[in-house]
């Protein structure tokens, strides 16, 4: 059975952002259906559909809504449109081509959670998208889909866009709430969780754009349709992004559970590597979720038993919420794969990843603030041809301290910053060691003497300290 795209069905439809076009294809019918039900029935429906959050963590949306205190008076809905995970651009496509699908999702989620005000927290760099979405909101308001007494149901909902100022950490739900309140985007300590005390000290639900975009389809097509897509634990359609030197980079919709190889080589997806190169590394869930070895490595003789410790091709990893863990990835993340071909130096990849987190750590928790920058500095030195083998151990240790053990930091950014570094160093250690062996014998010593003479000369803070340290 060929898969019929739903989230991206309007991508090539002319003038798809207009309300009339959206309505002509069954738009706002899901919302109309939801408004005839009781709010709790909508929550149950979403629970049955097992709609897992598309933002990265994969937490079931219905259960998240269930955490709201039953006796609340005011509820806010925050829509996380701060899409800032590096190779990810699926929310952008939703907003650009089908803003009303998002708005309908907001209406349904708002009704289910008894929200009165919905805030769309939008990435600051989305300028054109802001205007598109604002126009769509104006249109929907004029047509009575927002405002007072929506569709005669007696339900009121207002919707506002709040634009961010360009910080990765504002995509973290409590960082987003702080930023929305006009403060510095620093994630909050939990508990209290946003469902209990969120924006403006009121119960708040934070949902990703794609999660909400799924809602109209669950209502119109039913739970059975939704759960028939995808794998057992990960139901529904998903927008996969693929970027890098593939023949057809872009965003593609598929039921959850395609393999990474399919995403790169599939006819409907990436259509293979440019110039017939092999893949060295794939970061399949944005940067934060970790790295997979590409097909330049030999095939695993036992494909059902992935072994991240062995140098095998890992492209058979199924991109759903659970299988990725067998390959030592943190999670599905945003399902945006960035492909690195075989001729790229692995040290360049490391510098790129560490640089991102060093610049984007919010700086609250010590190990994330200091650790991410330290890793970046080490990576830069490695790239400059002045690495030491002990630097690799150090990188693994720092990345482990960032968040391998849960609870070490306030939010997930530090886990996300540490995981790909550890993954990369562990999975590609041979190449790193080879590169270090290719350097001049005393390259590291010379470089360290140059950049930090005190560390080079001091007997305690010596440049060999990394080896003597426990």
């Amino acid at each position: 059975m060929a898969f019929e795209p739903v989230l991206m069905k309007h991508v090539n439809v002319p003038n798809s952002t207009a309300l009339t076009v959206y309505k002509s294809d069954g738009g706002y019918e899901g919302a109309a259906k939801a408004l005839k039900m009781k709010p709790d029935e909508v929550v149950d429906l979403v629970k049955q559909a097992n709609l897992r959050g598309r933002g990265g963590a994969g937490f079931p949306a219905g259960i998240k809504w269930g955490f709201l205190p039953p006796d609340r008076e005011v509820t806010y809905l925050c829509v996380n449109a701060d899409e800032s995970e590096p190779p990810t651009f699926c929310n952008r496509i939703t907003i650009e081509t089908d803003p009303h699908m998002l708005l309908e999702g907001i209406l349904i989620a708002g009704y289910a959670t008894k929200t009165t005000i919905a805030y769309i927290y939008m990435r600051g760099e989305f300028t054109e998208q802001f205007h598109i979405l604002q126009k769509a909101i104006d249109e929907a308001c004029a047509a009575g889909y927002f405002g007072k007494n929506i569709l005669g149901s007696g339900y009121d909902l207002e919707c506002y866009i709040h634009r961010g100022a360009g910080a990765y950490v504002c995509g973290e739900e409590t960082g987003l709430i702080e930023s929305l309140e006009g403060k510095r985007g620093w994630p909050r300590i939990k508990p209290p969780f946003p469902a209990v005390e969120g924006a403006f000290h009121k119960p708040t639900v934070v949902n990703n754009v794609e999660t909400l975009a799924c809602l109209p389809h669950i209502l119109t097509r039913g739970v059975e349709w939704f759960t028939s897509l995808g794998t057992e634990t990960s139901a529904g359609p998903k927008m996969y992004c693929v970027s890098g030197p593939v023949n057809r980079p872009g965003c593609y919709e598929a039921p959850l559970g395609i393999s990474c190889r399919e995403l790169i080589y599939g006819e409907d997806f990436g259509q293979g590597m440019r110039d017939g190169k092999k893949v060295k590394v794939v970061l399949p869930g944005g940067l934060s979720m970790g790295a997979l070895r590409g097909d330049m490595f030999p095939k695993n003789p036992n494909p059902d038993q992935p072994d991240p410790k062995q140098d095998y091709d890992e492209l058979d990893c199924i991109l759903d919420f659970d299988d990725v863990r067998r390959y030592d990835l943190l999670g599905l993340g945003t399902a945006a794969a960035v492909v690195v071909p075989e001729d790229v130096d692995i040290r360049e990849v490391l510098v790129n990843i560490t640089r991102f987190y060093a610049l984007e750590s919010c700086g609250q928790c010590t190990q994330c603030r200091e650790g991410t920058m330290w890793m970046y500095q080490i990576a830069q030195r490695l790239r400059a041809g002045a690495g030491r083998v002990c630097d690799l151990n150090l990188l693994v240790e720092i990345s482990q301290n960032l968040g391998m053990m849960p609870g070490l930091s306030i939010c997930g950014l530090s886990d996300g910053g540490g995981w790909p570094v550890r993954n990369l160093v562990q999975k590609f250690r041979k190449e790193f060691e080879q590169r270090i062996a290719e350097q001049g014998a005393d390259a590291a010593a010379r470089r360290i003497k140059e950049i930090n003479p005190a560390a080079y000369e001091s007997p305690i803070r010596g440049y060999q300290a990394a080896e003597v340290h426990p």
Binding site: S361, G363, Q367, I378, M405, N452, A465
Partner: protein, 533 residues
């Protein structure tokens, strides 16, 4: 009172407090930077991470959770069990200390904080001797952020206590973090320096040497300082303080925790209100007027001279033409001793509460800290004592009015104010008095007509108690000896009253308590160990 187990020890603690506070109260040394009992919890330094026993998700059996929990953010619950002494926790502390020192300069030899620095202490107790950092260190600038404060942001550990202080306690919000990630820096907003009446507290709050007091900069190594518990004379609230002094000189004043008055903070008036102690102009010997003006007199002769002059002026009788002006800068003991002695000598003498300096209005800050407009420590104490003696009493303004009319032949005026207090009216009124005895810190317009001038000592050179505006009686101790040539007020009054030996405030208080039972008990705030801040 819930009982919890920390490191195998059963600890009784107050309800609802964080585990970290319970551990600190029990005397445990748990490293922490961002936590401060007087500020909100941000749990960002991650130093107080601990292991906690949690029920297993399936079997519900209690066991050590693989997760680490910040002790400052976890409230105590009956029967909970946590530990800080496990290898996992120590490992995490060791790593964090390494991170803190990555970009920290090694300038302890010139840092004012050295010796009382939490970074030094924790690095020694929880850190490791080596650093594996061989990259270039990041250097943040040194900044002048206000009239009294410097910020050496290269030393900063970003605990953000200062930011929370100016946001929550003073409500002025001058400070903020600028930049992101490891380039985070504390700064003030352009054109908005750190300048509020409580700003000095950020220097005490800073666990490292990043925030520095300009008046203490490079003045003393802290391990040379000796510390005395005292009460600030800056306003009538009786803020409790520590006086840090060395070689008979005061070097700084720090807040002393007081759950009933100032908690962890003091006002800048209290903090910087000691410079009068070292002013050049201070009176340093008693002087008596004879035909060629005020001439120095020996302390030993003074009681005799005073009595003689009084008798000559007042003659026989109850002394109704004598007024005793008691200053609200006096301690309760001193006021009682002097009033008692004068009343014994002249039972009809008028007792007057002297000038009470009032500047502006009371100022209340968002979390309840109050700076009083009444800039003297013991108005209420002296009032209580005057009331106790009863008989002829008068207010300061009534006294002045009567003095102008020439009602008083003799007056003993006790001053001791830190600022100039003698106005033209006061000088004119007291000029009508035949025998004027002035007991004060500094020369004033009264010297022109004074018959006897007696130098007094500052509060740091005396001991006794102050009764604050709410009636709380708090003792203060002597920090430094009186200026050379000066006799402490209490000692002089003691000798004047014919007592022999050393004046001890406690002894006098016991005598007072026989008549004034409220002085039997004084309030001493509980000691908070240094590691608990």
């Amino acid at each position: 009172m819930p009982t919890i187990i920390i490191d195998g020890q059963e600890i009784k603690c107050r309800k609802g407090i964080p585990v970290l506070q319970a551990a600190l109260d029990a005397g445990m040394n748990i490293p922490h930077y961002c936590y401060h009992p007087g500020l909100s919890v941000v749990a960002s330094c991650r130093l107080c991470l601990m292991e906690m026993k949690m029920p297993h998700p399936q079997t519900r059996e209690l066991g050590w959770d693989p997760k680490l929990f910040p002790a400052c953010q976890t409230p105590v619950k009956r029967g909970m069990e946590v530990r800080f002494n496990s290898e996992k926790v120590r490992e995490s502390q060791r790593h964090l200390m390494e991170y803190y020192l990555l970009n920290h300069p090694l300038d302890c030899p010139v840092c004012d904080k050295a010796g009382e620095c939490n970074l030094q202490d924790y690095a020694e107790q929880f850190g490791s001797a080596t650093s594996r950092m061989v990259e270039q260190k990041q250097k943040n600038p040194k900044k002048d952020i206000g009239p009294h404060t410097l910020l050496y942001s290269d030393r900063c550990v970003l605990c953000k206590r200062c930011i929370r202080f100016v946001a929550e306690i003073t409500g002025t919000g001058e400070m903020a973090v600028v930049n992101r990630g490891s380039r985070n820096e504390i700064d003030v907003f352009p054109g908005m320096p750190l300048d509020n009446p409580l700003q000095g507290n950020v220097v005490d709050l800073c666990p490292v040497g990043a925030l520095l007091d300009k008046s203490f900069l490079y003045k003393q190594r802290v391990w040379l300082l000796r510390t005395t518990k005292s009460v600030s004379p800056a306003d009538s609230r009786g803020q409790t303080i520590f006086i840090d002094h060395n070689e008979n000189g005061i070097h700084r004043i720090r807040p002393r925790y007081n759950e009933r008055v100032n908690e962890w903070w003091i006002s800048d008036e209290a903090r910087f209100g000691w410079h009068h102690v070292q002013r050049e102009e201070r009176l340093d010997q008693p002087r008596v007027r004879n035909s060629d003006g005020l001439r120095p007199e020996r302390w030993e002769e003074l009681p005799q001279v005073l009595r003689q002059r009084m008798q000559t002026t007042l003659g026989e009788g109850g002394g109704s033409e004598l007024a005793l002006i008691l200053s609200p800068m006096m301690s309760c003991e001193e006021a009682w001793l002097l009033a008692k002695h004068i009343r014994e000598m002249a039972p009809e003498a008028t007792l007057v509460l002297g000038h009470v300096p009032i500047v502006g209005e009371d100022r209340t800050f968002p979390k309840g800290f109050v700076i009083k407009a009444e800039k003297c420590p013991n108005r209420r104490g002296v009032e209580t004592i005057i009331e106790h003696f009863g008989g002829n009493t008068s207010t300061w303004s009534d006294f002045l009015a009567q003095a102008v009319e020439g009602k008083f032949k003799a007056a003993c005026v006790v001053g001791g104010y830190t600022e100039e207090w003698v106005t033209k009216e006061v000088a004119a009124a007291l000029a009508k008095v035949e025998l004027l005895v002035v007991h004060d810190l500094f020369p004033s317009a009264l010297d022109e007509t004074a018959a006897i001038q007696i130098p007094s000592a500052t509060w740091a050179e005396r001991e006794g108690t102050f009764m604050n505006c709410d009636g709380l009686i708090q003792p203060f101790e002597r920090a430094i000896p009186p200026l050379e040539g000066v006799k402490a007020d209490g000692q002089f009054f003691y000798e004047l009253a014919g007592e022999t030996g050393l004046y001890r405030a406690k002894k006098v208080r016991e005598m007072m308590a026989a008549e004034l039972p409220q002085f039997a008990e004084v309030f001493i705030p509980c000691d908070v160990p240094r590691h608990a801040h």
